[in-house]
């Protein structure tokens, strides 16, 4: 600056550059503004769609967690329940004989007209002289409740001749009527409930005999077609849990181990290149193809049971493996070579290098990838349809070899149920449960990740 010879030349060259820069500035700023605007728009659009999705699901699904219950005084009428006392075990009888006698007694109970006990209870709660026929009276209470009463009696035969206040499930039609999910102005012929039943339901609701209560049955009951109000997710939930455990137990160790072998130990050859290309391609194979494979290999060849979580878990394992392998290899490739050299330079063997240094560093990423893979498997429906997991299963599977269905398949089944106005809410409720499970899984991932990263 102090050098006078420089002051003459410097500004001239500066002005020409500055001029050019200034001329381009406007365009550059405009481009940046446009790009930012587009980005913001994209984020807002995405958020909007997510908001619409969630608000629809929640607004539709929340009512399903409330269920109409009829509080009735049930009389275990000895005139109807005329089967005599339950058999008592005696010294003269072998255990097998006692068991046979007990089963015979229970069979007798099953043949009784439990409907008339329910009907009597409904009639007693109805106002004096209310005109309603048997079918109509029974349509108030869910059909499954007669079995509930019988099971209660089997557990406590002392109830004979007693009057007990019980909360019985109202039928799905009553639930619809009271929640307004069916149009009240529809003509009689198009209503699900008869006119007297509708009147009685309204009367019960107004007098506190029918109450809306939290629907625990969604979580404790299995699916039901005959008694929609009793349909629950317990069976599907357990099916999903078994499959998830199988996927975690198989896909994680196999996937991580193969990724480690391919990345750290395998010689780079034509064969390993081929394997790598194939793994990448497998990740893009439509999931339904894995279902076909599962049906052909596990069911047809290995003769594993149909509709069983073990087969579902194996199919989902195959589907998840590429995801886990690719993510783990990516994480391993990201480990700086300086760390490997440090370990090798200290005289660590290759295995020691991998297990003492490389793996601990990559564990958080591997874990995240694994949980994303498992969550993906948990939400998968298509391959399960092909191995029979869309079967109607009315029991909670007690082992992975039992028949079961899965949460997403249950959603699919409920979505297609003919009792639309009742199952629309159930479907959304099931989606909420599935999403809740996913959120729990992701929360575990975030928690473990932050813990591992803090330790490292």
């Amino acid at each position: 600056m102090t050098d006078t010879s420089l002051t003459g030349t410097a500004p001239r060259s500066e002005t020409s550059t500055t001029g050019k820069v200034r001329a381009s500035l406007g365009r550059r700023h405009r481009n940046e503004a446009i790009f930012r605007g587009l980005g913001l728009l994209a984020v807002l659009a995405a958020l909007g769609f997510v908001a619409i999705l969630f608000s629809t699901i929640i607004s539709k699904g929340l009512p399903a967690f409330q269920q109409a219950k009829v509080n009735l005084e049930v009389y275990f009428d000895p005139d109807i329940i005329d089967v005599g006392p339950p058999p008592e075990p005696s010294a003269a009888q072998s255990p097998a004989d006692y068991r046979a006698a007990e089963l015979a007694w229970q069979r007798q109970l099953a043949l009784l007209n439990w409907n008339s006990i329910v009907e009597t209870a409904v009639r007693e709660a109805a106002p004096e002289g209310f005109e309603i026929d048997t079918r109509q009276a029974l349509s108030i209470v869910e059909t499954s409740e007669r079995h509930t009463l019988r099971e209660r009696f089997v557990r406590a035969p002392g109830l004979l001749g007693q009057r007990v206040r019980l909360d019985l499930l109202a039928s799905a039609n009553v639930d619809n009527w009271l929640k307004g999910t069916i149009d009240r102005s529809l003509a009689d012929s198009r209503q699900q409930l008869s006119a007297p039943a509708r009147e009685l339901a309204d009367y019960f609701y107004a007098n506190g005999i029918i109450n809306m209560e939290f629907a625990w049955s969604i979580f404790t009951n299995v699916d039901s077609r005959a008694a929609p109000a009793a349909a629950g997710l317990a069976g599907a939930f357990m099916g999903s849990v078994y499959m998830m455990l199988i996927v975690i137990a198989l896909a994680v160790p196999i996937g991580v181990a193969s990724a480690i072998y391919l990345e750290e130990f395998a010689p780079k050859s034509r064969l390993t290149d081929l394997i790598e290309v194939n793994i990448n391609n497998l990740a893009a194979v439509p999931s339904i193809v894995f279902g076909l494979l599962g049906a052909a290999v596990f069911i047809n060849y290995f003769r594993l049971p149909l509709s069983a979580p073990i087969v579902g878990g194996l199919v989902l394992t195959l589907m998840t493996l590429p995801t886990i392998i690719i993510a783990t290899r990516g994480a391993l490739q990201g480990v700086p070579s300086s760390l490997r050299q440090a370990a090798l330079g200290m005289g660590a063997s290759r295995t020691q290098m991998v297990f003492h240094h490389v793996l601990p560093v990559t564990l958080p990423s591997i874990l995240t990838a694994t949980i994303i893979g498992v969550a993906q498997a948990l939400g998968e429906t298509a391959p399960l349809l092909l191995i029979g997991m869309n079967a109607f299963v009315a029991q909670i599977p007690s082992s992975p070899m039992d028949q079961a269905t899965a949460l997403p398949v249950q959603i699919f089944l409920w979505q297609g149920n003919e009792n639309r106005n009742f199952f629309e809410a159930r479907t959304s409720a099931a989606i909420m449960v599935l999403l809740g499970l996913m959120i729990v899984l992701n929360a575990i991932a975030v928690f473990l990740r932050s813990r591992l990263e803090r330790r490292a």
Binding site: S338, L339, Q341, A342, L344, G345, G347, S349
Partner: protein, 273 residues
Amino acid sequence: MIAGRIDMTNAKANAVDDSTERPIRVAARDVSVHYGAKQALFDVSIDIPDRAVTAFIGPSGCGKSTFLRCINRMNDTIEGAKVTGRIELDGEDIYDANLDVVELRARIGMVFQKPNPFPKSIYENIAYGPRIHGLFRSKAELDEIVISSLRKAGLFEEVKDRLHEAGTGLSGGQQQRLCIARAIAVSPEVILMDEPCSALDPIATAVIEELIDELRENYTIVIVTHSMQQAARVSQKTAFFHLGNLIEEGPTEQIFTNPVNKQTQDYIMGRIG
């Protein structure tokens, strides 16, 4: 330092005389290295004297690091690298099929260009080598190894209150001394240093150089360096590499004051590299 000077004054024009004064620790004969089709090192033969600092100098890509990595077989870890020739440690062929590379690397430690402590505590960084090689019998013995290694590396006073904090939290120079302490912890016979100061500031460099000079009493040190001043300051023997060839080797004083080869002279004068 004094021993080194006496050696250098006694030395003749070639390096072989130097080795008569000191036992030879590492001897290399006709070592060539290929990376795939490309030859990176051409028939290098050199003797590395015991308990002295040998410096490899030369412009970038001259093969000095490649040769250094042959000495503890770190080239084995590079895909497609092929080493021919013979390298002996105390008369044993280190490329012998019966020799376990793990044992070799326990005897020949290495310090890298960029400080690369493990992402573990300072204590664990140093305890790692003794742990995998089973060099201690009790926790107290391990503590002793860790502390004495840190002391030898001149790091103990600075980190004694935070031995269980992350080694990656130290400054660059401290990290490099931690890496030296880690290498010392397994009591190697030879320590290879691949441009150990290139990522450090001048003050940290001075500390490391001082440390190298102290370590010379107990260890055979081979150092690769870009800095001719550094080679002149710390080494007793210097070897000049150019384009994969060993051009000239000899006592450091002679290489820097009276090089025989024209290329060496040009490099020392700053005309190539």
